[in-house]
Point group: C2
Chain length 114, copies 2
DNA sequence: CGGAATCCGTAACGATACTG
DNA sequence: CAGTATCGTTACGGATTCCG
């Protein structure tokens, strides 16, 4: 039978640690920094790529698709030539902003520059 | 010259996004769940392994070592036979607990069980 | 009991070229 | 402009064996 990401199988139930569920969503290498850049405004594909200088189109696309699947990011396609696509946070994505902020503040307060 | 995990090199400065720094610390597959299990009490090695049923000794050791390097976890060795090692959160690790809690609450409130 | 050392497989990341 | 498709690489997790 199915096993959870963490924990024993419990009958037909799958016991998943909530904290781990959250981690799963933001685990991609670029996920949180994408969310961070969308937290203040809607951005176009190329704009995001400029903000994340070392990311390739392919991987940026993949990370965005995964965030879409997890309902964190909304993708709006404008049927124009040349094409225009805008990414923004969904309500779920927006509800995550405070956690991003906590993470940033915690880092600045506690982490020494390495 | 050195490049940051995110961003352009800026003179001799390395500009690192604080949010990304935090992510780097908790990025390991078992990191946050280990922190979570240490948040309430000190635990021994085998105890942790029992709590994380599908983890092997090798990987548990590695994750703990990395958390030690990042000053999140303290390792206390008792010179006895048989050996006894206790893991606990450092002050830095403890200061991270509120974020873990936010993540858990956010998950429970917003994430539908999949 | 709490590791260390080794090896392996896969998934994630990444570079490049091409396209509507 | 915003992708897709393909392929290469690397890092991470995991299994196993051995040890004080």
């Amino acid at each position: 039978m199915a096993k959870s990401r963490f924990g024993e199988p419990v009958g037909d139930q799958i016991e998943v640690c909530p904290v781990t569920q959250t981690q799963d969503i933001i685990a991609g290498k670029w996920k949180i920094i994408i969310l961070w850049n969308l937290s203040t405004q809607t951005r176009r594909f190329n704009e995001l790529q400029r903000l994340l200088p070392n990311i390739s189109k392919g991987i940026l696309t993949r990370q965005l698709r995964e965030l879409e699947e997890d309902q964190m990011v909304h993708r709006e396609v404008y049927k124009e030539v040349p094409p225009k696509v805008e990414y923004s946070l969904t309500p779920l994505g927006q509800s995550f902003i405070p956690i991003l902020q906590s993470m940033g503040e915690w880092s600045k307060k506690n982490l020494v520059s390495k």
